[in-house]
Chain length 471, copies 4
């Protein structure tokens, strides 16, 4: 063990580790979730620290002797070589100070080692004075959250695109499958299964747009803001340099926030992204609910579609297969909705110059992005891509459906059609039969009038027939 | 108009009204919801003021000359005669001060009038000095909320009892209706429709217990606590007198909170009741969902039960009838869940000696109780009471159901039964047929084995049959 | 009373009213909230019905004889003359069918009356056949919600602009007021009160942008979709005509949704607006919290700013004035957050071709918009506009503040500065004193170094001083 | 690799592992959270399987030859020896089937191995037929959740007791520290710091009661219910035997649910516990907020109390120490609130005979219990236990406080006292001074009247003084 010292006194630190006294304190103070920091966040911290060291070197604040090993250490963080040294719990007090200090200490000690000096000898390279130079947790952590979020969202957007592609395929594949639409779970007018899948596709496309829009709003960073956005202790020119460095390195179109005080205290754009994710989650849940309903049965349910069988469904009922993929979509949806509540509470708890609840916000946002990505991937591949239609049954339902009577409503009027509907119900006839039996439409015309495909295309289908009748 | 004066200066008040300057200010300050205070809250305020005046009279703090007209005015408030004078918005800043002052002013002015003095002449009877004597908003308002809540909950509990009664009736009525149970919306083993309704009944009974338990916790009041629970400015004996007066008058078993500081700053028991209401709301929503699902169709849905028709369902599709009562149950459920979120936020916002967010808590709690009472009444009468079963269809589904195969699982083992299940699916046979065709069960025994009613009663149905086979 | 008849049978309707049998049924079925429909929604329904009648007339579906009185009746609905006839509860089952039918019946009967016929004689003009011609609840109601939302949002946006204006004024007015910034509620580095208000302004500007963006997404309507988006029973050309009519009449840039099936079943854009309102609500709550904190005291609090006194604060503590306006802002914020939960639940409950929970969504969305508008107006006028600063106290806090020591951190390094900070704390000195006493900065330079205004402008303030020292 | 086979076909399984084909499928199907099952849940599964095997043996359903190795394997699961074999993601579709099958397969294979047979040779001991005998996921999983919850809650209750103990200590320690109470963050009447901590203590005691009550409701289990609560395929006597076995083994007072259908489909009692945890979380957050506020400063804040310093607070501001422990309490609180939202959504999604969303419910409930336990431990030890009071400052605030004027309100009346309050404010005097200067109370009596300790004990402090004056 080696001894380290800070404002509050001395502490022992394991001899060979790169982290230091403040990390040790944080580990003791926050044994909360038992989880690790996201790899993407650690990498993002490495990028921020790297860009900052380069800027400080350029500004003459940090000599080459110190800057270069710091930059090398940052490169190693980015390459994932020092990930095991990041040990603070993602849920922590202090607005991310412990995360920032964990990074500062790891980078400092690795840089010290690269220089051939002794781990923990901060007189050579100091985590605060040198690695954290021109920075504060309050600009480093929000910026790192944004970088990590952008990175993680790439995977999410890919999953979403895959889902959209599969939905589009099914929309085409099922374009000819005509079935009964249901409103209020009650039989309504004809629709095509393809129209249903196209509708899902367009919904998810809007969800994607909302997420993309929110991500664009996240591109404003506050490097150079330091503690409260006033930029104290950091040269004004630093902002531009570090920004450009980050943009070049990440390939992301970051901008400097126009009001750094605002950008340092407010995290509404993180909540905005969470809100966009929440709506997507809810929409996914709606689609999952629909699929579970349409595939219910196989014999005592709707059974209009089949989901791919991915595992036996019951430990006691042999032969049973359950819609487990849509079910897990529902559950992830509920998690993302709950996470948004957490983020909302945290957003409300911001006070004055800082929102100290950022760690829980980042933790929940990362979880939402990650789980959504995972579940959408599975949803697209293991459910949507393999959906098949039971066309015959769809057709049967449609023929028997009461909703077909709607087609004569414009010609007979609502009141007369209602009376006819009553008869259809009480006599248990089909609508076709009843129309013919009542001499409303001739046997010849009935197929024209109730042509299922035509009925799904809109317009006044029976106009010609009834106009002729009138004449 | 008459002129009145307070700490902040003068204001004009309509000449003939009973409310005064502070009510006028509150009306100007809080044009928020446009809604009125709940009648039950106004009555509760009347009860609190009345009990307090009696206690003050008994303690010699308030002379008969002043106490008696104040008490008469309170009686009028309780009788609803002065309700039109309560004009502050239920959503307001100030932890209920404006509600309390509205009551103080109305009672003072009515008492002044009863004494033949001029409205607004507070030198005679003062809203603060006399009507509010020994009180603070911080004990009056929480106590009035509790009284109003208890009162409103009586109606809710009656509705719940009605619902339970209707569910119990249906549980009996449908005890012989055997149908397929569904897990994951997939066909499972047989169950009786009566068992399903009994299950709803027991669920709602637990909900009722939770609500009753929470109501019991609400019986602790903090009269005599004054501003912060220390009881400053109020004789210690006052507490007991006012408590007894309130108990006698309301018939409710109120107790004095053992820690008045705690009781003045914390409103966790209100949140507890909201939580109990929320769970009941969610459970109602689950039942409503089930009923909508089971009554789906009529021809392209499950159609196992029929809900009473209460209104035509579509402006365009004649003959369509929708499950509008369960649908409104769902919607009220969502409102109550949302209200609980609001109350949770408000609970968290309590600071130090007071939770100033009590008005929004009361507003949402009252709304939840009231809407639940209304919707449960409608649900019991217009939906549950009139549910009928389509027994033949239930029977048909069951016969066709794959889930019946579960009955041979204990004897054939899961693996063999799975193979058999596969065959049933691929050949589109019934389970009965397949068992007979495969010589697993004799034609004679099959009815014993798959006797639907027996299968819903549990146990090893086929034991005898298969034991004989073994021997 | 007059007798009317529908699918389910006969009912008595009060003789002179314009509404009819389906409204009567709905009143009986949904005694839920006791509230009225929003005036803006009724007007929007009038607009939709009017545009539709014009389109039907143009298409030759509705003769002039029928179309003209219908249009006149619609004009009266829009003018508010028939508002008293809209009696269905805003919370109702049936996806808005009862609201639509209430409108259909009122317009039909008024048109019938205009033609000199008898109220209730639907053989002349039928609510369904004629007033609802080419329409379904499922396109009428979503469209009316959007029109009403756009209209109500105008008022909200005006309030927001007022708030932004007041914040901007204060940002300028307080630009010279230097004070201590606080992070974690702990003393941090200097900031200007003006910077704090500018930060609020920029936050609210982002909120406004989010709301505007969401409103733009609401401009897509689905008129012509009829029951499920397939457009059955309505000529394809109707869509364009009715759209143009609505655009011309309302002045709003509506577009036809590109996928009507999707547009009929999904209400994600309503949830998106609710989400934008929620974030604004949370941000307002944060600002309200800050103001309550900064104005705490007057003697045992921070007391850096004064809020205008708008009403006496206590019924028992004379002289006390409370921050009631920010407090009501908090409470409305909690309501809007809760309403968003309700809307989220309702969004998730959409099934297949329709989200039948639209009524509760509309109810909550309207309430959120309305309450936010009201409270922001009050917040701007009665709180923000009148904030004053206690400059002397701000200055005093700053001088005593430990945070000033940060200014020497870049020159002494974090470790040495920490030791110095310890000394400052233990000796109860000011930072200035300690720096001078320790010969770190000369008495002459100390004012340059710790010039409060300079410190709020960012950069390396002490560079010159310490560079000189080094040389 | 070894080959295994199920209903859906064959799969390769790593040769030496105890889990089997269904676990492999689940791993592929649910790559969602990347987290592991809670150890307590795995142990609980072991207990359930063990009790079941014993019952099956006793009933003669399972021979000793098979039962004994199964029981031994269960013992190893309970001892944690097979934990590494539980690899399914806690978030999964299928209502826990994959968790149950993971357990069945691990136990079966370990039992097979104990018998000297080959892993995967289920003809010897089958996961479904033998290990899962008399069971279904739908009784096993809910029961295991309850056992794990009870176990985890023990630790939570211990933490809570520790917190209560520390709060009680502080209530005593600070019983003499008199300070200004604050309502609306504005100076109110005197209170003792000890009263504030006692109030926290009593609040947390109520929270504990709510949690205990909810845990009692969780003691009802549904073993023997099998798939849907009808108990098909399991001897009726099994229920009692397995119940008693579980009670004896766990020491917990489990009971058999009186309606097994209800108990199998409804998880309201899990939501009830989540609700109780939520209210405790909110209450903790309120206390954390208070402590952060009271310890704000050190120089530009309230600074009435000191929290222990547990880590340096800033990477840029040397000497700054932040209230990180209360901050992490807030954040965990927000997580628990969010988790309750997730659980609420999942509760609402139950359908017919089963709530398939149980995995996400268990996952969130476990997280809430675990995080609360961890953070309460830290809160008690690292924050509450070390709080110290700045008595002098408390006293100073109190003396200067305007709230003292309340003490003369009963004698002068509200209106006169208000005028006096105005004077105190405008002249910047203390209340004492003003009372003496205005000859309201003599210099001699003022100390009696405004004796801070007396003022915190309630009652009419000045009665004697003012009565004498009157006489």
């Amino acid at each position: 063990m080696r001894k380290e010292k800070d404002l509050l006194g001395e502490k022992l630190v394991p001899k060979e580790v790169y982290y230091g006294i403040q990390t040790v304190r944080a580990i003791e103070n926050f044994p909360i979730s038992g989880q690790k920091l996201r790899e993407e966040l650690i990498i993002a911290l490495g990028q921020v620290k790297r860009a900052s060291a380069i800027a400080n070197r350029k500004l003459g604040l940090l000599s080459e002797d110190l800057a270069n090993p710091i930059i090398t250490a940052c490169d190693e963080v980015i390459a994932g070589k020092l990930t095991s040294q990041f040990l603070v719990d993602p849920i922590q007090g202090g607005a991310g100070t412990s995360i920032n200090m964990n990074a500062n200490e790891v980078i400092a000690n690795r840089a010290i080692q690269l220089c051939g000096e002794k781990l923990g000898d901060y007189s050579y390279i100091s985590p605060n004075t040198h690695v954290n130079m021109s920075q504060s947790t309050n600009d480093v952590f929000p910026t790192a959250i944004r970088i990590a979020t952008m990175k993680m969202s790439e995977g999410l957007l890919q999953s979403i695109s895959k889902l959209i592609k599969e939905l589009r395929k099914k929309a085409k594949e099922f374009d000819h499958v005509i079935k009964v639409a249901r409103t209020h779970l009650q039989d309504a007018v004809p629709i095509r299964l393809g129209q249903e899948f196209a509708s899902y596709q367009h919904l998810i496309e809007r969800d994607r747009n909302r997420i993309k829009m929110s991500l664009r709003h996240l591109l404003k960073i506050n490097m150079g803001a330091t503690a409260t956005g006033t930029g104290l202790n950091t040269p004004i020119e630093y902002r531009e340099i570090v920004l450009n460095e980050l943009k070049a390195y990440s390939g992301l179109k970051f901008e400097l926030a126009s009001d750094l005080v605002d950008a340092t205290q407010n995290i509404d754009t993180l909540a905005e992204l969470s809100g966009a994710l929440k709506i997507m989650a809810v929409d996914l849940s709606k689609i999952a609910n629909d699929l579970r309903l349409l595939s219910s049965g196989p014999r005592a349910g709707l059974n209009e579609i089949n989901l791919p069988s991915v595992q036996p469904g019951s430990s006691i009922m042999p032969g049973k297969v359950n819609p487990v993929i849509p079910e897990v979509v529902n559950q992830v949806s509920f998690q993302v909705i709950g996470n948004d509540t957490t983020i909302t509470m945290a957003l409300e708890a911001g006070q004055l110059e800082l929102n100290v609840m950022e760690p829980i916000v980042a933790h929940n946002l990362f979880e939402s992005i990650d789980m959504l990505r995972n579940v959408i991937e599975v949803f697209a591949e293991k459910a949507i891509a393999g959906v098949t239609a039971n066309e015959k049954l769809c057709e049967k339902y449609l023929k028997e459906s009461l909703g077909l009577i709607t087609a004569v409503n414009p010609y007979l009027g609502y009141e007369k059609t209602s009376d006819l509907a009553k008869e259809v119900i009480s006599t248990n006839k089909t609508v076709s039969q009843a129309l013919v039996d009542n001499n409303i439409v001739s046997e010849e015309d009935i197929h024209k009038l109730l042509s299922p495909y035509e009925l799904t295309k809109g317009g006044l289908i029976g106009e010609e027939i009834f106009n002729e009748q009138k004449n």
